[in-house]
């Protein structure tokens, strides 16, 4: 598949926003009202990231002015569900932050926070299932897909929570760094598990099933046109193998090992924590690019030769 930057940015930005919210809620839950500044700051940053992701997603649409229609098919479409859950989550993050500013009674704050957690998890599931539900995209059709969206997003948000805590709630920065390290490690292992799984996949569709002729040697001689088409652009990443391999190595190094080192042995400075998040986020951009490039769409069997 051709990686679309609009979707890469949407999923990485909202993933970090969701993780940051989860981290802030966890701190709030454990430390009662003393974490007020950190929670408000986290909600504000989270909302900014969510809004940025939402803006990026509009660039994916041919007719963005009709985007309001996307809420209608929630019974069948994970994309429609995501479109409903994302603004609902944004609203709850806003409410949760505002309740902290107003210093409302704690049971109301916690209720909003728990509702936010539920919406946050639902959003991870919706985003992951958009890809996982497409059964003939075998690389995506796995429980690992939504799980990795959840884990990678939570890990990057936790990493972002560390510098936020340094500025607003320093006594908790060390604990958050440990949490970011641990969740990052689990996310990294599961992402590697997905790589191993996908490396062993055998495509169910072959040239023989594509045109229905049972023969081991079928070669396309012409795809019906001499130029490009939607089918040749949308479903091929069009990059040489070395670029795809480089993207994989980039995320394998940047998404966890480097930020983990900065979190654990970076001296605990604000700069080290900010760098840890920035590097991890860059790694996750590479991860998402690779996620799309790795997926082989069966329609490509029909678009193998230009002549």
């Amino acid at each position: 598949m051709r990686p679309a930057w609009s979707v890469i940015l949407l999923t990485t930005l909202i993933g970090a926003a969701q993780g940051l919210f989860l981290a802030a809620f966890a701190v709030d839950f454990l430390k009662a009202n003393s974490a007020k500044t950190m929670v408000i700051a986290s909600c504000a940053i989270s909302l900014l990231l969510l809004a940025a992701g939402l803006v990026a997603s509009f660039f994916h649409l041919g007719r963005p002015e009709r985007a309001w229609r996307t809420a209608s098919q929630w019974r069948t479409s994970w994309l429609s569900r995501e479109v409903i859950v994302l603004p609902a989550f944004m609203g709850m993050v806003f409410l949760y932050g505002v309740l902290h500013v107003l210093e409302v009674e704690r049971k109301f704050v916690m209720t909003a926070g728990l509702a936010g957690v539920a919406l946050c998890i639902a959003l991870f599931v919706c985003t992951g299932m958009i890809y996982a539900c497409l059964k003939f995209l075998q690389e995506w059709h796995s429980a690992l897909t939504p799980l990795n969206y959840l884990l990678l997003g939570t890990a990057s948000g936790c990493t972002l929570a560390v510098p936020v805590a340094v500025l607003t709630f320093p006594q908790f920065a060390g604990v958050l760094a440990l949490a970011a390290f641990s969740i990052g490690a689990v996310a990294y292992l599961m992402r590697c598990a997905s790589l191993v799984r996908n490396a062993r996949l055998r495509p169910k569709s072959t040239p023989a099933t594509a045109i229905g002729i049972d023969h081991p040697r079928i070669v396309q001689k012409a795809q019906g046109f001499m130029g490009g088409s939607f089918n040749t652009r949308e479903f091929f990443h069009g990059r040489p193998d070395r670029v795809v391999r480089a993207a994989r190595w980039a995320f394998l190094i940047l998404a966890f090992p480097v930020p983990a080192w900065l979190l654990g042995w970076g001296g605990g400075s604000l700069q080290a924590y900010v760098a840890a998040f920035a590097i991890q986020f860059a790694g996750l951009l590479a991860e998402r690019w690779y996620f799309f490039a790795e997926a082989r769409h069966p329609q490509n069997l029909y678009y193998q030769s230009m002549a």
Binding site: M1, H60, L61, G62, R63, P64, R66, A67, R69, T70, A71, S72, Q73, T76, S77, W78, L79, S80, V83, I130, C133, L134, K135, F136, L137, K204, S205, P207, T209, A210, I211, G212, I213, H215, R217, I218, V219, Q220, K221, A222, Q223, G224, F225, M226, G227, G228, S229, F230, N231, E234, F235, H297, P298, Q299, N300, Y302, Y303
Partner: protein, 209 residues
């Protein structure tokens, strides 16, 4: 319930692309149009087509066969492109099984194209909406046309009669008989989309060397 479909005889198709140009001509001007072209006479031409004719070589030289393979939307009985659509623009008609896109509801998110294993949908670069074969829904019910012309443009154009059109749920229709008598098959059965369109295999005619 009716399920309209095309049956394409690979034994007869000569790969002339008449169905492609006829489809483009009719649908560019019809209710489904325009089907835009980008840079049609330039260096890197591109355009929207509902129907493509491809060519495959089967076997190893000198024992090869050239197979011309027309491909358009298969109007699946269980179309994976329909439930994923977030706006309801992509739908399957209950009355005749044709899978259509409502251009006024489509937001151009391309998710339906991702969900089609056959690559049957093409996003129009100018209209910014998803397009696909309509089985010439604006022809086949047009009572202003003589009855013999109420067929998809591709079927009308085929010089070798390789394309048949009819209701595959009516066991006595021309398409059902062709499928039954000649071993008609569906593409990529592994995904259980139950394509309505069928293909008739290459067959020995007795005229081979």
């Amino acid at each position: 319930m009716k399920q309209l479909a095309l049956v394409i005889d690979l034994n007869v198709c000569v790969g002339c692309h008449a169905c492609v140009t006829s489809c483009k001509e009719w649908n560019n001007a019809g209710a489904a149009g325009p089907l835009s072209d980008q840079n049609p006479y330039g260096k890197d031409p591109s355009g929207t087509f509902f129907n493509r004719v491809q060519t495959f070589e089967v076997g190893e030289f000198p024992n090869t066969e050239t197979v011309h393979f027309p491909k358009s939307c298969l109007h699946c009985e269980d179309p994976p492109c329909v439930p994923v659509c977030p706006t309801g623009a992509s739908y399957k008609r209950a009355e005749d099984g044709i899978v259509l896109v409502d251009y006024d509801k489509c937001i151009g998110c391309k998710y339906c194209a991702w969900a089609c294993p056959y690559g049957a949908r093409e996003m129009d670069q100018q209209e910014k909406v998803m397009t696909k074969c309509t089985l010439c829904v604006d022809r086949i019910y047009d009572e202003l046309l003589p009855p013999q012309d109420r067929q998809p443009a591709c079927v009308m154009a085929c010089p070798t009669n390789a394309r048949l059109f009819g209701d595959i749920h009516d066991p006595e229709s021309v398409v059902s008989r062709a499928i039954r008598d000649n071993g008609g098959y569906a593409l990529m059965p592994e995904w259980e989309t139950k394509p309505a369109n069928h293909y008739l295999p290459r067959r020995k005619t007795g005229y081979e060397e």
